[in-house]
C-alpha cells in the first residue's frame, strides 16, 4: 500500500512538485495581509470579566493608555527654570498636534490649574502662562506646585528634578505610528545642556513593541535558516542535502503563517517565535529521510535513484508520521489548555505547520529527491571511522548497554532534583521586561519609576446608587481611608482621587492653611466646592476622577513598575479591604485598570501552564500508546521528555527564572518536540529486536543509525531554538533557551535512559510475542485511535500503521471501522443453487446503535409469499448476554422469538451465517486467535492476510468455522476476501466484496458474493440507497413495528 503510494508520487513527481509550489504560492499570497497585535490586551480573551470591566471604566472616566514624556533637568532648580518650563509648554503644544493624540487630554504643568482661595471664594488658574522669563518666577511655580500635594509624585518629581507630559492615544492599534511621531518629536527637539527627555508609558510600550518584534524577527529568521543549512551540510555534506530540506522549511513556514493570515489571526509577541520553531521542526523529517537515502546509497552505490528514494521513504514514512502525530498532539495540548489567545494560536498553527511539514516530507521531498543523480554522501559511508558524531554515539551506546542500571540510577537523581525545582518554581512577569534593559523605553521606565509615583496604574471605581451621592462625607471619608490603606503597600507610589481635590479646595478657601487640607463633614459644602471650582475652572477638569453626576468616582493608584509577584499582595490586600469596608448597600468598589488586568492574566498563565503540561503529556501518551499499540511503550516514550521538563524546572529554579509570558509555553513545545527522539528510538529498538537474537548487545545497533540521525535532528532543533536566545525580546530569549535545554536533555535521555530502561524492564512490546495475548492498550484502542484522530482533525493514518500490526491489531482496526450511528439501506439477496436456479429477495433494513446495543431490523419486500416478513435483532455488547431476536411471520401474523444461540446457522437461506450478518463482516474478537500470515493482492490491492482460529472447539462448533482467513485492505480496514473452513478442516465458503464505496464518509460494501464450496450454492447481496445520515427513528426497532411492517 505504502509502496504503491510512493510509487505513484514518484511517477507523478512533476505534478506533485507543481502542486506543492502552488500551495506555497497560495498560502504565501495571504502573508501581506497579516496584522500585528502587540497590546497586552491581546493576551486576555475579549470576554474576560476583568477586561470587560476595564473597558467600561475607560469609557466612564475617559481613561486611555498614556504615552509619557519625562523632562529631566540637572541642577538645584530642577525643572523649574525658564528654559525647562518653556520646553514643557512647547512639547505640550507639539504633542497636541500629533495625530492619534487626544488634544484635550494632554496633561502637563502648562495645562494644569492651581486652586487658590480669594476674597470671593476660589480662583482656578494656570500654574504659569506664559512661561516664566526669569529664575525667580520659575521658582514661584515650584512653590505653587509643592503647595498642591496632588501633583507631587504624579506630575512633578518630589525632588523637582523632572516633570511629565502625559498624552493619551485615541486608538491603541495605531500606537506604533504615534510612538514613532513622538520619538521623532523628542529627537528633533534641541535640548539645553543638562536636560534630557524620555518617552515611556503603556501606549509607548505597545507602540515600541511592534517595531521591536519586527526587527527581531527580521534578524533571527535568516540566521535560523543559515544555521539549519550549515547543520544540514555537516550532516550530509552534499549540496542537495543542504538545500532541498530548505524547500520543506519554506513551505512549512509560509504555509502555517499564510494560513494564520488567511484565518485573520494576528501576529502576537509570542507567535514571533513560530517561524524559528517551525524551521527546526520542518527540517527534522528531511534529516531522517536524507539519512536513510544516503545510507542506502552507501550500501549499494549502483542503486537506481528512484529506488533509493523509495527505499528511504518506505523506511522513514512510519517513524516520521508517528513523530509528526505526537508533535501535533503536543502543540494541540497547548491550544486546548491555554486561555490566552496568542498561546492558543501558537499551538494551533504550529500544529498545522507540523502537519504541512509532514505532508511535504511525504510527497514533495521524495518527488524532488528523485531528480537527484545518485551521489554518495561523504558523511554517510559504510566505513565511517572518522565520523566524530558516530564515535560519540557508539561510546554512549556501549556505556548504556554495559550499565543500564547505573544510567537509570543517575536519572533517578535528576528526577528528584527536577521535582524539587518544580516545587520552587514561581509564576511571575513584568511587562517592561519584554525589552532588553538597554532599550530606551526600559531606561525611561526605570527613570520615571525612580522619580515619580510609578508608571503602572490601576483604578478603583467607587460606585453609589444615586446621583450626587458622592457629596456624602461618609463616602468621601471611606475613599480617603482606602487611599491611605493602599499607600501602605510597598510598590504603591501614590494615589489620586477627587478627595484630594476637595481637600485642596477646602484649604484654598481657608487661606491656604496646611491644616485645612482636609475633608469637610457637610455634603452641601462639598457640592458648593465643586460649584465654586466650576465658576473659574473648567468643569471637565475632574473628568478622570468623578463622573458628571457625582455618582461614580475613580481612585487611581500608581505603582513603581512592579512584577506580578509584587502586585499580587497589593491586589489581594485591596480586595480584602474593599470586601470589608465597601459592603454597605448603595456603595461598592471594584478594582480595575491595566495592572489589574495584567494581574489576572499572569495568574492564569501560571494555571494554564501546568494544565497544558498535563494535557500535552496526556495527548502525547495516548498518541504514542496508540501508535505502538502498547501503554508501556507510550509511557516509555514520555519518560525522557517528562524528565527533561523536570530538569528545566530545576534549572529555572536555580537561575530564578519564573513561569511568565515567554516561559509558560515551553513545556508543551518541549513535549511535542522531545518525544520525537523517544519515538524514533523505540521504533528502531522494536525493529532491531524483531529477530530471534534478544541479547543486550543487539541494542548497540540503535546508536550508529537512528542515533546519528537523531543527533542532527537535535542539532537542527536546538540551534533553531538556540537562535532565539540571541533575541532582544526577553521572553523569546528565555523561551528559546529553555526549549533548547529541554530538547537536548530529552535527546540525551532518549538515547540513554530509554534503552537502559528497555534493557532492564524487557517490555513485551519489544521482546514479547506480539501475536499472543493482547497487551494493556489493545482493548478498544482501535476505537480510541479513531476518536483521537478525529479529535485531532487528522485523517486516520492508515498508511503508516499497517506494516508492523499483528493479526490481532489488524482485526481490531477492522472492528473499529466506523459503520455509522445508524443506517438505512435496501438489500437485494440473490440465492443461486448449483444448477443455476436463482431466487431473489428484496428487503429494506435499518440499523441503529442504542448506546452499546446494536439493533437491526430487516423487512422483506419481495417476493409476495414472504412479503412483510420481518427480522429484528437486539445485539448486546456483553459477550455473555445472548442477543434477542424476533421473526415476524405474515403467514401466521405472529411475532416469534427465535433462538439467538445458533449463530452458525445460515441466515434465512443465504450462505451467510447469522453471525456473519449480525457482525457485518467484523469478526467477534473474543471468538478467534488472530495471526498475521502476510500479504496478498486482491483486486489489485495489497491486503493483509490474517488467519483466525476459534479460541475453542465449542466456539468452532457454535460458529460452524474451524478457520477463517481474511484479506484485509489496510486502507479502509475492510476484508476484501474471506475464506472459511468448517471445524473438520474442509473448505466451506468464500466471501468476496466486489464493490466498496465511501458513503457519507463511511466505507460501505455494496456488492458481496458468497460461494458455498460444499453445496455449490451462491448468495449475492447488493446494497442500495445506503444512508447513514438521515436519522432512523427508534420505532423501527420495536416489535410492534415489526407487526405493522414498513
Amino acid at each position: 500500500m505504502l509502496e504503491s503510494l510512493f510509487r505513484q508520487i514518484l511517477k507523478f513527481r512533476l505534478p506533485v512538485l507543481i502542486m506543492g509550489t502552488l500551495f506555497m504560492g497560495f498560502a504565501g499570497s495571504f502573508l501581506p495581509s497579516i496584522t500585528r497585535d502587540t497590546t497586552s490586551d491581546a493576551f486576555i480573551p475579549k470576554d474576560n470579566p476583568a477586561r470587560v470591566y476595564r473597558e467600561e471604566v475607560k469609557e466612564t472616566f475617559g481613561l486611555a493608555d498614556p504615552i509619557v514624556i519625562a523632562v529631566f533637568q540637572d541642577g538645584d532648580d530642577g525643572i523649574f527654570t525658564p528654559e525647562g518650563l518653556q520646553l514643557v509648554e512647547q512639547l505640550t503644544l507639539a504633542l497636541q498636534d500629533i495625530p492619534n493624540i487626544d488634544p484635550e487630554r494632554v496633561v502637563s504643568l502648562s495645562t494644569e490649574n492651581n486652586i487658590e482661595g480669594t476674597d470671593y471664594g476660589m480662583n482656578v488658574e494656570s500654574f504659569y502662562k506664559p512661561y516664566p522669563k526669569d529664575a525667580v518666577t520659575a521658582q514661584l511655580v515650584w512653590q505653587k506646585v509643592s503647595d498642591f500635594p496632588l501633583y507631587l509624585g504624579s506630575l512633578v518629581a518630589r525632588d523637582k528634578s523632572a516633570t511629565l507630559i502625559v498624552a493619551e492615544v485615541l486608538d491603541e492599534v495605531k500606537a506604533e505610528e504615534t510612538y514613532l511621531a513622538i520619538e521623532s518629536l523628542v529627537n528633533n527637539t534641541a535640548l539645553p545642556s543638562g536636560m534630557s527627555l524620555h518617552v515611556a508609558g503603556e501606549a509607548s510600550i505597545t507602540g515600541f513593541m511592534g517595531m521591536y518584534i519586527d526587527s527581531d524577527a527580521k534578524r533571527l529568521n535568516p540566521i535560523a535558516g543559515v544555521i539549519i543549512t550549515i547543520i544540514l551540510f555537516l550532516a550530509f555534506r552534499t549540496l542537495a542535502g543542504a538545500l532541498i530540506p530548505n524547500l520543506i522549511v519554506a513551505a512549512t513556514v509560509v504555509g502555517a503563517i499564510g494560513m494564520m493570515a488567511a484565518a485573520g489571526v494576528s501576529f502576537f509577541v509570542i507567535t514571533n517565535s513560530m517561524p524559528v520553531v517551525l524551521i527546526g521542526i520542518a527540517v527534522a523529517d528531511s534529516i531522517h529521510i536524507f539519512s536513510a537515502y544516503y545510507e542506502s546509497i552507501a550500501k549499494n552505490p549502483k542503486i537506481h535513484g528512484r529506488d533509493a528514494v523509495l527505499g528511504a521513504m518506505l523506511e522513514m514514512a512510519r517513524p516520521i508520521t508517528l513523530t509528526s502525530l505526537t508533535t501535533i498532539a503536543g502543540f494541540l495540548g497547548l491550544y486546548i489548555s491555554s486561555v490566552q489567545p496568542p498561546m492558543q494560536y501558537m499551538g494551533l498553527f504550529t500544529a498545522l505547520g507540523v502537519a504541512i511539514a509532514w505532508a511535504f516530507s511525504m510527497t514533495f521531498l521524495p518527488a524532488a529527491m528523485s531528480y537527484l543523480t545518485v551521489k554518495p554522501s561523504k558523511a554517510l559511508q559504510v566505513n565511517r571511522s572518522n565520523d566524530l558524531a558516530l564515535s560519540l554515539l557508539n561510546w554512549i551506546g556501549a556505556g548504556v548497554v554495559r550499565n543500564p542500571q547505573r544510567v537509570a540510577g543517575m536519572c533517578l537523581l535528576l528526577i528528584a532534583a527536577g521535582i524539587l525545582g518544580a516545587l520552587n518554581i514561581e509564576v511571575n512577569d513584568r511587562r517592561i521586561e519584554v525589552f532588553n534593559e538597554k532599550e530606551p523605553v526600559y531606561q525611561a521606565d526605570l527613570m520615571i519609576n525612580r522619580h515619580f509615583d510609578g508608571t503602572s496604574v490601576f483604578d478603583i471605581v467607587v460606585e453609589t446608587d444615586r446621583p450626587e451621592a458622592l457629596f456624602n462625607p461618609v463616602y468621601l471619608r471611606k475613599m480617603e481611608a482606602l487611599q491611605r490603606k493602599i499607600e501602605t503597600f510597598a510598590p504603591v507610589g501614590g494615589t489620586t482621587s477627587v478627595v484630594d481635590y476637595l481637600k485642596q479646595m477646602n484649604r484654598s478657601l481657608n487661606e491656604g492653611k496646611p491644616e485645612e487640607y482636609r475633608l469637610v463633614d457637610d455634603a452641601e459644602l462639598n457640592a458648593q466646592l465643586f460649584f465654586l471650582y466650576s465658576t473659574s475652572g473648567d468643569p471637565t477638569d475632574f473628568e478622570e476622577e468623578i463622573d458628571y453626576d457625582y455618582q461614580r468616582a475613580n481612585i487611581r493608584v500608581n505603582m513603581k513598575g512592579p512584577s506580578h509577584q509584587e502586585v499580587a499582595p497589593v491586589v489581594e490586600g485591596i480586595q480584602k479591604y474593599i470586601l470589608e469596608e465597601f459592603n454597605e448597600p448603595g456603595l461598592k468598589a471594584t478594582l480595575s485598570g491595566r495592572s489589574m488586568v495584567t494581574y489576572e492574566w499572569v495568574r492564569s498563565v501560571g494555571k494554564s501552564h501546568f494544565n497544558s503540561v498535563a494535557i500535552s503529556m496526556l495527548l502525547v501518551l495516548i498518541m504514542a500508546s496508540l501508535v505502538f499499540r502498547s501503554l508501556a511503550a507510550g509511557l516509555l516514550s514520555l519518560t525522557p521528555v517528562a524528565i527533561s521538563i523536570l530538569c528545566v524546572y530545576a534549572v529555572m529554579a536555580i537561575f530564578d527564572i519564573a513561569i511568565g509570558i515567554g516561559t509558560s509555553m515551553f513545556a508543551s513545545v518541549a513535549i511535542g518536540l522531545g518525544v520525537d527522539f523517544a519515538i524514533h528510538s523505540i521504533d528502531r529498538i522494536k525493529d532491531i529486536y524483531r529477530g530471534d537474537d534478544k541479547s543486550d548487545d543487539v541494542m548497540l545497533a540503535l546508536f550508529p543509525s537512528t542515533g546519528r540521525a537523531l543527533l542532527f535532528n537535535l542539532l537542527a532543533i536546538a540551534f533553531g531554538f538556540g537562535i532565539l536566545m540571541t533575541s532582544d525580546v526577553v521572553p523569546l530569549m528565555r523561551f528559546g533557551a529553555i526549549v533548547a535545554l529541554s530538547v537536548c536533555t530529552a535527546f540525551i535521555f532518549s538515547l540513554t535512559l530509554l534503552p537502559a530502561l528497555i534493557l532492564i524492564i524487557k517490555p513485551r512490546f519489544v521482546y514479547g510475542d506480539t501475536t499472543g495475548t493482547p497487551n494493556l492498550m489493545s482493548h478498544g484502542s482501535g476505537i480510541l485511535l479513531v476518536l483521537v484522530s478525529t479529535m485531532l482533525l487528522i485523517a486516520p493514518g492508515s498508511v503508516f500503521a499497517d506494516e508492523a500490526l499483528t493479526g490481532r491489531q489488524v482485526m481490531e482496526q477492522v472492528v473499529a471501522r466506523d459503520e455509522g450511528q445508524s443506517a438505512s439501506r435496501n438489500l437485494t439477496m440473490e440465492l443461486t443453487d448449483r444448477r443455476g436456479k436463482t431466487r431473489i429477495r428484496k428487503t429494506k433494513g435499518f440499523r441503529k446503535y442504542f448506546g452499546d446495543e446494536k439493533r437491526t431490523v430487516l423487512f422483506f419486500l419481495e417476493p409476495a409469499n414472504i412479503k412483510d416478513t420481518g427480522f429484528l435483532t437486539y445485539d448486546y455488547k456483553e459477550a455473555t448476554e445472548d442477543d434477542d431476536q424476533w421473526l415476524y411471520l405474515p403467514a401466521v401474523r405472529k411475532i416469534r422469538r427465535i433462538s439467538a444461540s445458533d449463530r452458525g446457522d445460515y441466515f434465512l437461506g443465504t450462505d451467510f451465517s447469522f453471525e456473519d450478518i449480525k457482525n457485518e463482516s467484523k469478526p467477534n474478537l473474543n471468538d478467534y486467535h488472530h495471526k498475521r500470515l502476510g500479504t496478498e493482492l486482491v483486486d489489485g490491492i495489497e491486503c493483509i492476510v490474517v488467519e483466525g482460529l476459534p479460541v475453542s472447539d465449542t466456539v468452532a462448533t457454535e460458529l460452524g468455522y474451524g478457520r477463517v482467513v481474511s484479506c484485509v485492505d489496510p486502507n479502509i480496514w475492510m476484508a476484501r476476501k474471506t475464506e472459511f473452513w468448517d471445524p473438520k478442516g474442509n473448505k466451506l465458503k468464500e466471501i468476496r466484496v466486489h464493490r466498496i464505496e465511501q458513503i457519507d464518509g463511511i466505507w460501505t460494501s455494496l456488492d458481496v458474493h458468497v460461494k458455498n464450496i460444499k453445496t455449490g450454492h451462491k448468495t449475492r447481496f447488493t446494497f442500495s440507497n445506503v444512508d447513514y445520515q438521515t436519522p432512523v427513528e427508534d420505532r423501527w426497532f420495536e416489535t410492534s413495528q415489526l407487526r405493522r411492517g414498513l
Binding site: 445472548d882 403467514a891 410492534s1040
Partner: protein
C-alpha cells in the same frame, strides 16, 4: 357492498399507482379417491401512502371452489355481519374484502382503523388468547392460519409508553365463528351433545346479538419487554365466538337454539429465549363460557369458569431444524354436570426442517387430544422452485372415534398438492 370487491378487483389493473402484490394459489386435495378440495385463489394486496403518517392497505381475495370441494355452493354466513361476509359471484367463485384499513401513525402510538386481523398470544395451533377475530371453520382447522381468521371492522389503538405498549381495541363488528354449513365436509357433528338417538331435532335460526355498540367487543393489552422476556397482560370483554346450543325438549322433540354469551377474558403471555430453547406460555381465565351439560339440566348448557394455559418449548439445537412441543390444558372451575371433562389436555408436537438453503421445507405437526386419545397429524413439504413459484405437498390425517373432536373427521383424511405464484 356486495360488489365492492368485484369493483376493486376490476380496478386493479388501473391501480399501478398503488403499491400492490398478488398471489395466486391453486390447491387440490383428495380423500380416498375423491376430490375433497379444489381451489384457486387470487389475493391482491394494495398499499398506498395517504400522507407521511397515514398508510392504507387493502387485501381482496377471489376464490374459486370446485363443485366437489369441501363446502360447495353459497353459504348464508349467519354468524357474520353484513360488512364481513363473502360475496358469491356464482356457485364457484366468491369474493371477499379480506382487509381494508388505514394506519395512522401518532406521535406516541398508532391507530389502525378498518377491517383487520389482530393476533394475540404465543401458542401455535390452538387458541387461548388469539380470540379477537372469529374463525372460519369451513375447512375445520386445516386452512392456513392467516386465511382462517375472519378479519373484522375494528378500531385498534396502540400507545407506546416508556414501560411498554398499550393496545386498546374496539370492535363494533358482531361477526362470530363461521361454522361449516350443514352437509359440508367439515360440518361439526361430534361433541355437540349426547342426544339420544331417534329424537327429532329442530334447529332454530341463530340468534346473534348484532347491535354494533351494545354488542361490541372491547379488548386491551399491555405488552412489554423486560430482562429478555416478552410479556403481555390481556383483557377482553367479548362474546364467546362459539354459539351455545340451548336445548328444549318437549313432546315434539328437541329444539336447539344457538345463542351467544358474553365473557370476561383475562390473561397473559410470556416468552423468552434460553440458548437453543424458546419458552412460550399463555394463560387465560374466562368468566363464563357456555358448555353442554346433561340434558337433565334445564337448558342443556351452563356457564363455566375456565382457566386455560399453554406451555411451549421450542428447540433449535440442530441446524435448520425446529422441534417444538406444546401442552394445552383447559380447567373448568365450577361443577355443572358438564359433558366434557373438567380438565382437558391437548399436546402438540412440531418438527420442521429446511433443506437446500431453505428452498425446501418439510414439517410434521401432531395434535394429540389426551382426554379422548384422538389426534390430527399433518405433513407438508414446500419447495421454492424460483423466486415466485412454490410447489407443495400436504397430508392431513385424522384419527379417533366419531364423537371426538378430531375423530369425527376420521374419514376426511386427505393428501394434496399446491402451487403458489407470486406476482
Amino acid at each position: 357492498m356486495r360488489f365492492l370487491p368485484i369493483i376493486m378487483l376490476a380496478c386493479s389493473p388501473y391501480c399501478f399507482a398503488l403499491e400492490s402484490t398478488a398471489l395466486i394459489e391453486i390447491e387440490q386435495a383428495w380423500r380416498k379417491g375423491a376430490t375433497q378440495k379444489s381451489t384457486a385463489e387470487l389475493k391482491v394486496e394494495f398499499n398506498h401512502s395517504l400522507s407521511d403518517r397515514t398508510e392504507a392497505t387493502a387485501i381482496v381475495r377471489a376464490k374459486a371452489l370446485g363443485p366437489d370441494s369441501f363446502e360447495p355452493g353459497e353459504s348464508d354466513q349467519p354468524a357474520l355481519s353484513n360488512g364481513t361476509r363473502r360475496h358469491y359471484l356464482n356457485d364457484i367463485v366468491e369474493f371477499e374484502l379480506r382487509e381494508l384499513y388505514a394506519d395512522i401513525r401518532l406521535d406516541n402510538g398508532n391507530l389502525r382503523v378498518g377491517k383487520q386481523q389482530i393476533v394475540w398470544g404465543q401458542a401455535d395451533g390452538l387458541k387461548l388468547l388469539d380470540v379477537i377475530n372469529p374463525q372460519d371453520y369451513r375447512e375445520f382447522i386445516l386452512d392456513k392460519f392467516e386465511d382462517s381468521r375472519i378479519p373484522v371492522w375494528t378500531l385498534n389503538l396502540e400507545v407506546f409508553l416508556s414501560s411498554g405498549d398499550l393496545q386498546l381495541v374496539w370492535i363494533p363488528d358482531t361477526s362470530r365463528h363461521n361454522l361449516a354449513k350443514a352437509g359440508s365436509a367439515f360440518e361439526v357433528t361430534a361433541p355437540l351433545s349426547n342426544i339420544p338417538p331417534g329424537v327429532p331435532i329442530m334447529l332454530q335460526d341463530m340468534d346473534r346479538p348484532d347491535d354494533p355498540i351494545k354488542d361490541s367487543t372491547f379488548a386491551t393489552r399491555f405488552s412489554t419487554f423486560k430482562g429478555g422476556w416478552d410479556l403481555t397482560l390481556n383483557y377482553l370483554y367479548r362474546f364467546d365466538n362459539f354459539p351455545a346450543l340451548t336445548k328444549q325438549i318437549d313432546s315434539t322433540g328437541l329444539t336447539l337454539t344457538p345463542t351467544y354469551h358474553r365473557t370476561h377474558t383475562l390473561g397473559g403471555s410470556a416468552s423468552n429465549a434460553f440458548g437453543d430453547f424458546i419458552f412460550r406460555s399463555e394463560a387465560v381465565f374466562n368468566s363464563a363460557i357456555y358448555i353442554d351439560t346433561q340434558l337433565t339440566r334445564t337448558s342443556g348448557v351452563a356457564p363455566a369458569k375456565e382457566f386455560a394455559y399453554v406451555l411451549g418449548l421450542d428447540w433449535s439445537g440442530l441446524s435448520n431444524t425446529l422441534l417444538s412441543v406444546q401442552m394445552f390444558q383447559s380447567i373448568l372451575l365450577n361443577d355443572q354436570d358438564f359433558l366434557r371433562d373438567d380438565v382437558d389436555t391437548t399436546l402438540t408436537l412440531l418438527a420442521r426442517r429446511t433443506f437446500l438453503n431453505e428452498s425446501f421445507l418439510t414439517e410434521a405437526l401432531w395434535i394429540y387430544h389426551i382426554n379422548d386419545r384422538d389426534h390430527l397429524l399433518r405433513f407438508k413439504a414446500d419447495y421454492q422452485w424460483s423466486t415466485n413459484i412454490t410447489i407443495g405437498f400436504f397430508a392431513d390425517i385424522f384419527s379417533g372415534a366419531e364423537d371426538q373432536l378430531f375423530g369425527q373427521f376420521d374419514q376426511k383424511d386427505r393428501i394434496g398438492l399446491r402451487i403458489e405464484f407470486g406476482l
